[in-house]
């Protein structure tokens, strides 16, 4: 099938995932000269690597599919089979094992150099390589053998083999342990310590080595793989030579599995001349509205362009071929956009509005057409009658707003003296709560002729990450609002501007120090997101003096006292801080007597609190424990007072009984300190880690604070991996228990059926698994969470840790 190197294809498509395959099918269908280059010996490696039998979902459901290959929700096998069939039937010109190593533009066309050294020429290149990256190779002679592999889909496939696992990362350790059940396993470590793996994995592998279940080779690296020497008695398929500290070691084996991590695609993509907006490893290259990158003629589709779902990727494959062939194509999303603009007119002209909207608001002007379309599709556009409340004080944020017509009033919160503030057309509001993860501070009410774009959290974060201009715009706006709200109430814009100019946004990793005791005190810090603890060192131990949540400020005590820092400050979790120059602040204090009074009151309060905490370090220890358990970022956590808990598991039963017989709470698992137990249950984080990488954006925050997973979940398992507290499980979504339901009385009198609240796992075969976790019993608002309700002794409590820390640090009895 391989084309002669001299022929110049019209289109070369790199990667045969959903986007690449769809493009190739369209090209084949229209008789366009093309070649599809795939690194692997099969199509669509990402989908190919899904677990056997996985149900692949076809989100987003609102988007119509327009492609020359078929795709509908179904099992992995069915989808792969359909694609393979379509590729053959349309006559796609595919080259397997054709990993592209280099792409350069030369003399009016592109030159694609394959790993094998072959060169392919094309007028246009469509890059569809996804974001999974390529596994790092051993780069030794003999690695091309079929028994050398870089992935392991099903450890149960192998038995009675001698298998060598190279590497000691998490993947390598997990593979070695899983394989050791049925095989003789060796694990090879280039160094002597296990530094790159999770603690739990290190403990498991160390035990396995100690017990002789896994053979360990440290300070060793693979050198070459050969056939076994003639007359070798081991009967193994090959011989691996290790280069160890004590000289070469020959290891007869059947299989080598190298888990050396994956090289992200970025390096390869950058080498093609494509630019990334910033250094953030999560950032993706920018493309034009026709998916063209900054290199003319080079297009990027699919996950690499920021479209993480199969349906989107396939539509793009179709569109890009139409564009390259010069046929006008109306994007598949036009009907959706029409609906978005319905707030302005009955039958809106999409293109006109796409021109008007960015002119209305500065922040929208930074996007290109494609980004803007995507942005508006993910957002909501609607008109709000004058006087209607947009959100209430105290509600949690899952979105922020852009005013595109009319205006909005941020009213003063009850009891506070800050004047109401008018948000004019073109401005944004609601970003403080979104970025800090804390509840809204003041209610927002619509003015005359108000039309809003409501931007969901993920869309906003994507926009911020892709554009430094937007980032700056939001930073300044946030800074001004936050300063005005917390530090300098009632300041006018001009005065504020001076302070904002002197301010600095910095971010800290969890546990990273912000300043140490004894440092010069020249700044005041306002916490934009995350939380901070102030501590004193007593010998080696850190005694926590104070906990400050997002929205609070710290460090002013020393500034006012004019002394160096009296205590150290450290980020409790990932934290962003706005620091303000102390002199600007002191100036203001002198000019504003009212401000001075509030600050004085706080000053007194804080010093008192610190003295208290120093006097009773056990409170600090309890606080330290809770912070270590991640409560510093929780908005609502389940705690169990073990001095009251009679271990009856009523809480778990109640959870199972109200959630389709799957308990989302594991009472016993989790840490305990001083009778305070933190069970494994969702904490509804301020900045939920689980939301980070959810392809259909199915994880949402309710106004009342709970983080919930919606039914659009595709079951990819990303959230399960991303939640640091292990509270998400993949379970069956509906209570699809095929057995007859029995009533409580039938059970009590005759022992029929399961006891109420029994966790049962009689799933029908092929049931679709989705992510499930605590939803705070959102559908039983009145009675509150079932676990707390059902606890007979009052051991189970739901707390907002902020209050908890307040109480701990104030030391009330």
């Amino acid at each position: 099938m391989s084309a002669p190197a001299a022929a110049v294809h019209k289109i070369a498509i790199v990667g045969s995932g959903p986007s690449g395959l769809s493009a190739a099918c369209r090209a084949a269908e229209t008789g366009t000269s093309h070649v599809l280059l795939e690194g692997k010996p099969h199509l669509s490696d990402t989908v190919y690597q899904f677990q056997k039998g996985k149900h692949v979902m076809a989100e987003p459901s609102w988007l119509p599919l327009r492609a020359s290959a078929r795709f509908e929700a179904g099992s992995r096998e069915k989808i792969l089979a359909a694609w393979a069939e379509d590729a053959v039937q349309k006559g796609v010109n595919v080259r397997y094992r054709a990993e592209v190593a280099k792409i350069v533009r030369e003399g009016g066309h592109f030159q694609l150099t394959l790993k094998s050294g072959d060169v392919v020429l094309a007028e246009h290149v469509v890059l569809c390589v996804g974001v999974q990256g390529n596994p790092n190779r051993m780069k030794i002679p003999g690695e091309e053998r079929s028994e050398v592999q870089y992935q392991l889909t099903d450890p149960k496939e192998y038995s009675d083999e001698v298998i060598v696992v190279i590497g000691v990362g998490d993947a390598a350790i997990e593979n070695a342990l899983a394989l050791s059940a049925q095989n003789t396993v060796h694990i090879v470590n280039r160094r002597n310590e296990f530094s790159r793996a999770k603690e739990g994995n290190v403990a498991l592998i160390t035990a396995a080595i100690e017990q002789g279940r896994v053979q360990y080779h440290c300070n060793s690296s693979p050198e070459r793989i050969d056939d076994p020497p003639a007359g070798d008695a081991s009967g193994r398929r090959m011989m691996l030579r290790l280069n160890s500290a004590d000289g070469p070691v020959d290891l007869p084996c059947d299989r080598v599995i190298a888990r050396l991590g994956a090289a992200p695609q970025r390096e390869f993509v950058e080498a093609c001349g494509i630019e990334f907006p910033n250094k953030d490893p999560a950032s993706l290259p920018q493309v034009s509205s026709t998916y063209e990158s900054n290199v003319p003629g080079l297009y990027i589709l699919g996950a690499l362009a920021g479209y993480p779902l199969i349906r989107q990727a396939m539509n793009q494959g179709y569109e890009v071929v139409e564009t390259i062939c010069g046929r006008h194509v109306e994007p598949a999303d036009v009907p959706v956009l029409k609906e978005r603009f319905a707030a302005f007119s009955k039958n809106p002209d999409v293109d006109t509005f796409l021109d008007i909207i960015p002119a209305r608001a500065q922040i929208l002007g930074t996007m290109n057409r494609l980004q803007l379309r995507e942005f508006l599709i993910e957002s909501k556009v609607y008109r709000v009658p004058a006087g209607r409340q947009i959100y209430a004080k105290g509600s949690f944020a899952d979105s922020m707003y852009i005013v595109v017509s009319g205006d909005v009033q941020l009213q003063s919160a009850d009891g506070s003296k800050d004047p109401p503030r008018r948000i004019k057309t073109g401005r944004i509001f609601g970003e403080v709560a979104l970025l800090s993860g804390r509840p809204r501070l003041r209610p927002a009410v619509a003015g005359e002729g108000c039309v809003l774009v409501e931007v969901p959290r993920r869309t906003m974060l994507k926009l911020i990450a892709s554009s430094p201009t937007v980032q700056k715009y939001i930073d300044r706006s946030f800074c001004a609002r936050a300063l005005e709200r917390y530090l300098l109430p009632g300041m006018d814009d001009a005065q504020l501007r001076a302070v904002v100019d002197s301010s600095l946004v910095r971010s800290f990793k969890a546990r990273e120090p912000i300043y140490a005791a004894g440092d010069a005190a020249d700044r005041i810090h306002l916490i934009r997101s995350g939380s901070v603890m102030l501590f004193n060192k007593v010998g080696e131990r850190e005694v926590i003096l104070q906990y400050c949540a997002a929205g609070e400020y710290f460090g002013e005590v020393d500034v006012i006292a004019g002394t160096p820092r009296g205590a150290g400050a450290r980020a409790a979790i990932k934290t962003e801080i706005i620091s303000v120059d102390a002199s600007a602040f002191l100036d203001l204090l002198n000019r504003e007597p009212a401000l001075k009074e509030t600050v004085r009151a706080r000053f007194r309060n804080q010093l008192q609190q610190r003295l208290e905490m120093e006097r009773s370090p056990e409170r600090g220890e309890r606080m330290g424990f809770l912070l270590r358990e991640g409560l510093g970022e929780a908005t609502d956590a389940l705690l169990i007072d073990e001095a009251l808990c009679v271990r009856c598991d009523q809480c778990e039963k109640a959870c199972a009984a109200t959630h389709g017989n799957v308990s989302r709470l594991n009472r016993e698992a989790g840490a305990t300190f001083d009778n305070l137990h933190v069970p494994t249950s969702c904490r509804h984080c301020e900045h939920p880690h689980c939301m980070k990488d959810c392809p259909p954006n199915a994880i949402r925050r309710q106004p009342s604070g709970e983080v919930v997973i919606e039914s659009t979940c595709i079951g990819c398992g990303n959230c399960e991996r991303n939640c640091p507290y292990g509270v998400i499980q993949m379970g069956v979504e509906t209570p699809a228990d095929p057995r007859p339901q029995r009533s409580l009385w039938q059970w009590m009198m005759f022992g029929l059926g399961d006891a109420p609240g029994t966790d049962n796992h009689h799933y029908p075969k092929g049931a679709i698994k989705k992510a499930v976790k605590c939803d705070m019993c959102g559908n039983r608002k009145e009675e509150g969470p079932a676990c707390v309700q059902a606890c007979p002794t009052g051991a189970a409590i739901r707390v907002s840790p902020q209050q908890f820390f307040d109480v701990l640090s104030r030391g009330d009895r």
Partner: protein, 342 residues
């Protein structure tokens, strides 16, 4: 209970009278809603006692005076309501109001029932169905009192005994120590291996119901035999090592005759071991094994304490509930006999 009180105190209020709403809910069922049901029960106790003292029927107090009827009706109603807790605590989906409140009421009104029931009898007890109902009621209440005390005292002791860990992880740890002990014993000799295998087979977590409740577990004589075995092993090692040290060139010379008390198979093994790995390694392995066995013993003991505490925490329900069922039956018989046979 000190911790409970401390926590409760910590969580209750904040200065300036501003109450922390969500945390305020953290009260044990003993003091729920500032001991509302305790106060209610006390008030009713005083009121009923006063009425009983004042009231002076002609034939003396009994179930058939107007007060007797009143107390009887209240008592029967109360018993049915108290039993309803079993249904209520399992109605997870339709539940309204925390179970904690129900339990608080259950405990204090259940205690009040003792007074109501007793006064209802007018102290006329005999050998009949009526007294049977009374006795059953007293037994249910007595078991309930045990239960309430256990709920108050035992949970904190369970936590203390677990040292911040979970039961499951303690069990996993025992497994792990077993595996490690086996592989260490493997490196010593087949005899050590056999002894360790036997000791693993003999580990007893829990035991008979009686052992669980009393917390006195029959020790398999394993501990002693393990100890003496290891003492012997240590001695053998000592002797073999001594011999090796005394004769640095022993390798090429014939082996020394086995010391007294040493079985020859083991001797050879130990000596080979010293030859292969040096005497230090052998001793280290043995010491490691001893440490592992000691750790395991401590863990097994703690798991057994845990089992005991949890057994004591739940055993009474096996009386409380069946006796409740009997009580309901006896109560029905009592009521029927009073109305039909009177």
């Amino acid at each position: 209970m000190a911790t409970v009180d401390r926590l409760r105190g910590l969580l209750r209020a904040s200065p300036g009278g501003r109450r922390v709403e969500k945390l305020q809910a953290h009260e044990s069922f003993f003091t729920w809603r500032r001991s509302y049901y305790l106060k209610l029960a006390l008030a009713l106790t005083v009121a009923i006692s006063l009425v009983y003292l004042v009231h002076d029927p002609a034939e003396g107090p009994s179930g058939s005076t107007w007060l007797g009827y009143g107390l009887g009706t209240a008592g029967a109603g109360l018993i049915v309501w108290l039993s309803w807790l079993g249904v209520r605590k399992r109605s997870f989906t339709t539940a309204r109001g925390p179970i904690q409140g129900w339990l608080s009421a259950h405990v204090y009104l259940g205690l009040l029932l003792l007074l109501i029931g007793t006064l209802h009898t007018g102290f006329q007890l005999g050998f009949n169905i009526h007294t049977l109902a009374y006795v059953l009621m007293v037994l249910v209440i007595a078991s309930g009192i045990y239960g309430a005390v256990a709920y108050g005292v035992l949970p904190a002791r369970i936590t203390l005994n677990r040292k911040g860990g979970e039961l499951r992880s303690m069990l996993v740890e025992i497994e792990k120590l077993n595996d490690t002990a086996l592989s260490l014993a493997d490196r010593i000799d087949p005899e050590a291996h056999a002894v360790v295998v036997r000791s693993i087979a003999k580990i007893r977590l829990g035991g008979s119901a009686w052992e669980q409740l009393t917390g006195r577990y029959r020790s398999s004589d394993d501990a002693r035999s393990l100890d003496s075995f290891f003492a012997m092993k240590k001695q053998q090692f000592g002797e073999a090592v001594g011999a090796a040290r005394a004769r640095p060139q022993a390798q090429s010379k014939p082996q020394p005759p086995p010391a007294a008390g040493m079985r020859s198979g083991t001797t050879m093994f130990v000596i080979d071991h010293i030859f292969d790995r040096g005497s230090d390694k052998a001793a280290v392995t043995l010491n490691k094994l001893l440490q592992v066995i000691a750790d395991r013993k401590e863990l097994v003991e703690r798991v057994n304490v845990d089992i005991t505490l949890r057994a004591r925490l739940s055993v009474w329900l096996y009386l409380h509930v069946p006796l409740t069922v009997l009580l309901l039956v006896a109560l029905l018989a009592h009521v029927l006999s009073v109305f039909l046979l009177w």
